[in-house]
Symmetry: C2
Subunit: 346 residues, 2 copies
Amino acid sequence: MTRRAPSIRDVALAAGVSTATVSRTLSAPELVSEKTRESVFEAIRETGYRLNVTARNLRRRKTGAIAVLVPNLSNPFFSRILSGIAEVMSENGFNVLITDTSPLSPDEHRFPEYFSLNQTDGLIVLDGMLSRDLLLNRGAPESRAPMVFACEWIEDIARPRVSVDNREGSALAVQHLAALGHRRIGHIGGPPDNVLTIARKQGTRDALQAAGLPCRAEWVYDGDFTLQSGATAAAHWMASPDRPTAVTCASDEMAMGFIAELYRHGVSVPAEVSVVGFDDLEIAAHFVPPLTTIHQPRADIGRAAARMLLERMATPPQDRNREPVPQVVLPVALVERLSTAPLAGP
Amino acid sequence: MTRRAPSIRDVALAAGVSTATVSRTLSAPELVSEKTRESVFEAIRETGYRLNVTARNLRRRKTGAIAVLVPNLSNPFFSRILSGIAEVMSENGFNVLITDTSPLSPDEHRFPEYFSLNQTDGLIVLDGMLSRDLLLNRGAPESRAPMVFACEWIEDIARPRVSVDNREGSALAVQHLAALGHRRIGHIGGPPDNVLTIARKQGTRDALQAAGLPCRAEWVYDGDFTLQSGATAAAHWMASPDRPTAVTCASDEMAMGFIAELYRHGVSVPAEVSVVGFDDLEIAAHFVPPLTTIHQPRADIGRAAARMLLERMATPPQDRNREPVPQVVLPVALVERLSTAPLAGP
DNA sequence: AGGGGGTATGTAAACGTTTACAAGTGCAGC
DNA sequence: GCTGCACTTGTAAACGTTTACATACCCCCT
């Protein structure tokens, strides 16, 4: 009943040319005379022909897809980055396979089959916690697809990287609070061994020192970027006899979790404690109170990473490590809203 | 320099068998004697062979990928659904291509190339606002890939569907508010022509009527599911001389946008107005105040949709419309938190 | 007239699998 | 000893493109 879909052969037949000419009309039109080109297009219309991308990819020895490894798809932080990536990748004819790398069990990372089967021409890694071996020993050595990091990265893997000025972001947060008169400033960090956590903690410490403010170990709480861990930090804050009057957070979600938990216990923000986030998620502007935070250009991060990968895929493997690997760092900005306020009282 | 990746030929050579035997060892091991099987596996290890999925797909005339059409990737509502889909799809060896269908310009929907080129074996549609033609006329008639709807759907396209009990959800919200003594209950809906908007509005109206409560047209506000539209509804609420004392929303984001905008103008929830959302996003539990809402089993929706699609892909096209198309509707539940309170005063 | 350089096309061999078909073996039943 | 069957394996033809190479033609120059 259901006929085979028309192939390039059928088009060639209909147009009275060879399959080579049809193929050329499609992928290198300048090689084909205008008259022929037109009759080919006409034949394509007639037959309802659609290019079979699988066949093209087989012949060209590439897959036409890239994979992006996301630590946690449920985290709204990544959505914009993903659309940035998808935007430039689909412009360039690539499919984007999105993979959540969150481990199913603590020590077993889930790597989908297509990954080990090197079904992708390239890789964008948003997860800096993946094991080095996992990332490098997949597939045969020569089949290692080009890879770039975005947001997070792994220190001892030398690959192009796009990130954000984390230290500057932390500094902006601290300076803002200092300008409001706060002198006891705490910090809620991400997972202790995460590169972002480290960069932001260090940035916070340095800015505190530069402002001549104390940097007490008992004022920095460890979290894991999630809402829940913000709530946990709030419990610690409330339990502490000697609290900071303001805290900076390494993510908006922790900031919101922190504020909500405080609210539950009748502690009000910013009246009793000022809070600044990091990320500027959409919801930040619509939180209660609207969240003062550090804005990250998320779509730009995605677009930049995609462009970097495109470039790396285009350069032949032997040239890839000629020059130092590119690193772009994008600017951040403080967005003042209502979760921060001048220190009350003298 | 870089040798070709080992192919099935190299394995066959190393194991002293034919390529057919290697192929069978991989995709139909029961046809191969145990001795041979073992030597093939040994040869695979030796050579570092990886299956080339592109070649397999070409030969098998399928792509090994499914696409999912999401109205808006930035909406955190979809993330869990996507992981549910990805979970069962990757278990079954399929890649998942995620596509944001949000129009770039008002009347031009963005359909990535791979879609029109039917590079997918199946389709999960989460967007009920797509045009009928767009969805049905892609590709040649016989190449139409199996399709299922999830969450949203299009009335006059008969396809399997998994949805949620929207009327029940709306009813639960209204009953909860009524039980708290509210008699003036409003509603913030989604885009007017969206199927969910319609179902939830109708459910609200019916529940109101069943409870003997008024259902005033000026108490229902039109939104579009976004935070911003919730804020806009708040402006209308505040401007109204004769306000409802409680509102139900067709999405959590609108509920939060509503509350935040009220907060900005000094109106407090739930003291002055009770609010119930719909979705139960992660953030709902950590909002200020924590949001009373209707829980949707989002991961289950994704998993169910994926399983339906798998089944539909497995049944030959001519059998596909034998029986009535399956429809599963999953249950919802009210989650009471702090954004609703008994009506103050008599 | 012969040669050189484009330009436009065709021929046919890949790309790496899967699978219909054929063929070989061993064994049971007669 | 022959037939038939079950089980393994091999042979070779697809799947639908792209592309190196060959060819044909036209035009211009000497």
